[in-house]
């Protein structure tokens, strides 16, 4: 149960953080999460697109079909203003959490 909640709470933040700089498509998002976490963070790929659709319905990200020359069209997701606000809040929450963990268990986040 804790695993589900960690996933639900943290994956959104990861996605928002990845699309904060520039729009990305789903496969790119999945690859980046795995690569940048050195394989530590993995989740069911089958959860990715439903999560993207859910975040889109909540107005945190916006998906747009983009067709580049010589390539098939792909759906790119970018962060919205609402998504930026949520990302900021979640960053603060996680920061507080790690600080608390550090006080209790002497964990120094990287």
């Amino acid at each position: 149960m804790l695993g589900n909640e960690v996933k639900r709470g943290s994956t959104e933040m990861l996605i928002l953080a990845l699309v904060e700089d520039r729009p990305r498509h789903g496969y790119e998002i999945a690859k980046l999460i795995e690569e940048r976490s050195d394989g530590v963070l993995q989740f069911h790929v089958a959860s990715l697109y439903p999560l993207l659709y859910r975040m889109e319905k909540r107005g945190l990200i916006k998906g747009t079909w983009v067709e580049k020359a010589g390539q098939r069209r792909r759906r790119f997701y970018k962060v919205t203003a609402q998504g930026k606000k949520v990302l900021t809040e979640q960053r603060q929450t996680w920061s507080d959490f790690f600080a608390a963990l550090d006080r209790v268990a002497k964990i120094n986040p990287a």
């Binding site: 149960m1 804790l2 589900n4 909640e5 960690v6 639900r8 709470g9 943290s10 498509h25 789903g26 496969y27 999945a30 069911h44 790929v45 089958a46 959860s47 990715l48 697109y49 439903p50 999560l51 659709y53 859910r54 319905k57 909540r58 107005g59 098939r72 069209r73 792909r74 759906r75 929450t93 507080d96 959490f97 608390a100 006080r103 209790v104």
Partner: protein, 897 residues
């Protein structure tokens, strides 16, 4: 060759039946992802087939279906709802099952807490269920007759009886039957005992004489054979009988050949014409060991003169659509016509009727609902205790809940988890409660008063189980919701920043409030129980008017057909009593047609020299037919004069004995001995008062004694009498020899209702004893639960304030200062609860007024005494943790974090 990824995805997602445009988008996007995985795998060296398999297997298709089905519903809930669903996990069965497993694990990790909570809940739910099963059987369950709500019981109401209901005269009954429009049928019945001859043994059985319409009124026809015909119900009609199913099974082997055969009852042969369905036993309905087994035609005859005595018990079945009020108005109109036609006998006579259901339950509603309220209070206290336990436990889990909240679990999600644990507790507690209830119902039906109708039918049926389920769910919500909501709403940041020490401060107010409520409810119950106990003690001290020790009673019924003449009955009874007096151990032998405490038979009378004015009703008094040694057998003193001689009792009398109340009322300043009165009409003889007997309670211990007289047996020659034997030994040891002696005189004679006078007295106090015992039990349980609750709160508070206490002691506080601090905290709470409870008791005990005897509902002594008891109990509950607090080592306390 590149697989057709879109087709593969489309095939997998077809089950979702997405809107076409949406399906195209999703299929295209997921297919691109699959294709990218395929190309990466192929670039890594896998063959096309392997790369394809790798791509397909990288997807959990079932999970994708589930997740997409949630997201892509046809309707579009608002964004806020979606966010809530997302944060709480919705109502997916997976997370509910996870909640249950997690909850069970958490409860098993703390067996002490779980055991206390489960036992507390089991006690509360079990007691509530047991009492509800009695309330259900006695008050709520419909009578087992077709359209029972249409059956009413009728009486006459006479002005000279202060409007009380009396039995109906036969001619009045006939006129009602002929002239009414409101009823489909009106019937009359009379319960009686009968001697059934089976072989050489005579058995005494309860039976009834009923008019032919009786079974139509009850809506129940014989299961075999038929009911009585109008010819059989006429004087001189054929001797027929209908048997109960139980008698037919037990005594006649359930043999259908018995229909049409002859039975010997009271020395006469009767033809069996019908067998009633199983379970039908009216009018001996609902009372243990008093079921009716034999029904005979009433064969009523009009009285030779006048309108006759009041003796009929009447039932009616209302027509569909007719109400009791309409029927009462119509019959009152008929009664007014009869009053004009028969002014001598029917002056002021009206009709009283109530639905049959009320007839059985009327007097029991208040005491039973008081008991049900009491157990519900106990249940509330149990809920408060468990809520307190949960609050303390949830405080210890504050960190875990804060971490989960910070990781995305919404308030609703946390509430759901905590409520699931409450439901688990209540499921186990409720199951234990059901077992307790089953045991409790067995005890109640076995030892409960015999005069509570249908008590024997109390059982854990579907309605009771449904009630238990509702009570259990409400219990879980009551004790679970407040702690869950309070705990789930905490700011996780604040909780995580609070350091290692768990604060729990936010729950303290709630816990203290719960304690105040518990103490208040316990006060309420204890005051109620205290009043009932005081009332019961007062009842026990009422002098019944006879010596309850050393008296044996036996009921005798002389068959009217075998002993048709009064002088035959008088001679037989005299013979029986003479023989019984000679038995070893028997000091005196008497008889009466109605024992004290068994109700009244009333009779009009007139005093010589004080004629009744024209238009005025006659004086009325209760009467009992007695034999010469009756007073000595009963231990009732004669305070003036003498008892009857044998001549006066058995052959001819011009004497009468009155009771003290009648003597005081009508001859307050003179000796009534030698004065005369008459009981019949103007032509009846004057009877000389030869004795004044001490008052004996006629209609229960609480009713005032009315005017009464004791007529000589020969004046009534009643066929049904109760023999009373006075002895110095154990009365029941005489029963066998007395029965044998009676049978030597008449082998067909069967005795029944063998009892003692102390048993008679016990029966009179059975219901108050039952009510007091149960209320007392619940009140004690409430006090114990409240004390345990206070102990828990104070112990928890002491644990919370360990550092503070250590600091105070380090600064010089003595043990008595610590005691004062801790006990003071508890007593403050208790004081609020006591005051609240006293106020509630002041308001509510007035509802118990009719249950109390010689005790005011606001008896200050009881209120004060209970306040002291609760204060002392709370003091003890606070003292134990307070004493532990004085043993705190200041150094250790200050170092602890």
């Amino acid at each position: 060759m590149n697989p057709n990824w879109q087709q593969i995805v489309r095939d997998r997602l077809a089950v979702l039946r997405l809107p076409p445009a949406r399906e195209i988008e999703i299929v295209e996007e997921v297919a691109l992802h699959l294709e990218a995985i395929y190309e990466d795998a192929h670039a890594d060296g896998l063959s096309e087939a392997e790369a394809q398999a790798c791509a397909v297997q990288s997807y959990d298709w079932r999970l994708l279906e589930c997740e997409l089905s949630r997201v892509e519903r046809q309707w579009q809930p608002p964004a806020a709802t979606l966010e809530w669903l997302e944060r709480t996990g919705g109502m997916r069965m997976e997370s509910l099952w996870q909640d249950l497993r997690f909850g069970a694990r958490m409860l098993l990790k703390q067996p002490g807490f779980t055991l206390i909570a489960v036992i507390t809940l089991a006690l509360g739910i079990g007691a509530t269920t047991a009492i509800f099963s009695v309330v259900n059987a006695v008050l709520l369950r419909p009578l087992p007759f077709a359209q029972a709500e249409h059956i009413v019981r009728l009486w006459e109401s006479l002005p000279q009886s202060s409007g009380l209901r009396v039995a109906v005269r036969y001619p009045n009954f006939q006129d009602w039957r002929q002239q009414n429009q409101a009823f489909t049928h009106l019937a009359a019945y009379r319960e009686d005992g009968f001697n059934l001859q089976a072989g050489v043994e005579a058995r005494r059985l309860e039976g009834a004489r009923v008019t032919a319409d009786f079974f139509n009124v009850m809506g129940v026809q014989p299961a075999q054979g038929r009911a009585f015909s109008a010819q059989e119900d006429a004087p001189g009609g054929e001797r027929v009988v209908i048997l109960s199913h139980a008698l037919w099974q037990q005594s006649f082997g359930g043999d259908a050949q018995w229909l049409g055969r002859q039975l010997k009852v009271d020395g006469q042969n009767y033809t069996v014409v019908g067998i009633m369905p199983s379970g039908f036993s009216f009018p001996g309905f609902g009372y243990a060991n008093e079921e009716t087994h034999l029904w005979f035609p009433y064969a009523l005859e009009a009285p030779p003169t006048g309108r006759g005595p009041h003796f009929l018990r009447v039932l009616g079945r209302l027509k569909t659509g007719a109400t009791v009020e309409q029927a009462r108005t119509e019959l009152d109109t008929i009664a007014q016509r009869l009053e004009q036609s028969y002014p001598d006998t029917n002056k002021g006579s009206r009709v009283f009727m109530i639905p049959l259901h009320e007839f059985f339950s009327d007097e029991l509603q208040r005491p039973l609902y008081v008991l049900l309220s009491a157990v519900l209070f106990v249940l509330l206290i149990a809920c408060a205790n468990v809520a307190n336990l949960l609050l303390a436990r949830n405080a210890a889990r504050e960190r875990e809940l804060a971490v989960r909240a910070s990781l995305g679990a919404g308030r609703g999600r946390l509430v759901r988890q905590l409520l699931t644990e409450s439901l688990l507790l209540v499921t186990v507690g409720g199951t234990g409660g059901l077992l307790l209830a089953a045991w409790g119902v067995t005890l109640l039906t076995k030892f409960g008063p015999r005069d509570i109708p249908r008590l024997q039918e109390a059982t854990l049926d579907a309605s009771v189980l449904g009630f238990t389920l509702v009570v259990s769910v409400l219990t879980a919500l009551i004790f679970g919701l407040a702690p869950a909501w309070q705990r789930a709403g905490l700011d996780p940041n604040a909780a995580l920043k609070a350091g290692a020490r768990v604060t729990g401060g936010a729950g303290q107010h709630l816990r203290k409030s719960l304690i105040v409520v518990e103490v208040a409810l316990a006060m309420l119950l204890l005051v109620g129980a205290g009043l009932m106990l005081k009332s019961f003690v007062a009842l026990q001290q009422v002098a019944p008017g006879f010596d309850a020790q050393g008296g044996l009673t036996m009921e005798l019924n002389l068959p009217p057909e075998k002993y048709a003449k009064p002088e035959q009955r008088a001679s037989l009874l005299e013979q029986m009593l003479t023989r019984l007096r000679t038995l070893p151990g028997v000091a005196f032998a008497g008889a009466t047609h109605r024992l004290p405490l068994r109700g009244n038979s009333a009779m009009g009378f007139e005093i010589e020299g004080r004629p009744i004015a024209e238009g005025q009703p006659r004086l009325r008094a209760n009467y009992r037919a007695i034999t010469p040694e009756y007073f000595r057998a009963m231990g009732t003193p004669l305070i003036a004069g003498r008892t009857y001689t044998d001549e006066e009792a058995w052959r001819k009398t011009s004497a009468i004995i009155i009771n003290q109340t009648l003597a005081r009322r009508h001859w307050p300043n003179e000796n009534p001995i030698g004065k005369r009165l008459r009981t019949g009409g103007n032509n009846s003889p004057w009877l000389e008062i030869i004795g004044v007997a001490a008052d004996a309670k006629e209609n229960g211990l609480t009713a005032e004694v009315s005017d009464g007289f004791y007529v000589a047996y020969v004046a009534s020659a009643a066929p049904a009498m109760t023999l009373v034997l006075r002895t110095d030994t154990d009365p029941l040891s005489l029963a066998a020899t007395a029965t044998a002696e009676i049978r030597r005189i008449d082998a067909e004679q069967a005795l029944s209702g063998i009892n003692t006078l102390s048993g008679l007295l016990n029966e009179a106090t059975a219901q108050p004893r039952f009510n007091t015992a149960l209320l007392g039990l619940f009140a004690l349980l409430a006090l114990v639960l409240a004390a345990v609750g206070i102990y828990g709160v104070i112990a928890y508070a002491v644990a919370q304030r360990t550092q503070e206490i250590g600091l105070r002691m380090a600064l010089g506080a003595q043990a008595r200062d610590v005691l004062r601090l801790v006990i003071g905290q508890g007593m403050k709470l208790a004081l609020f609860g006591i005051v609240l409870g006293l106020g509630g008791a002041w308001a509510l005990t007035r509802l118990m007024g009719t249950l109390l005897f010689k005790v005011s509902p606001t008896d200050w002594l009881t209120f004060a005494g209970i306040s002291v008891l609760v204060t002392l109990t709370v003091l003890l509950a606070c003292y134990l943790p307070a004493r532990r607090a004085t043993k705190v080592d200041p150094l250790i306390a200050l170092r602890s974090e």
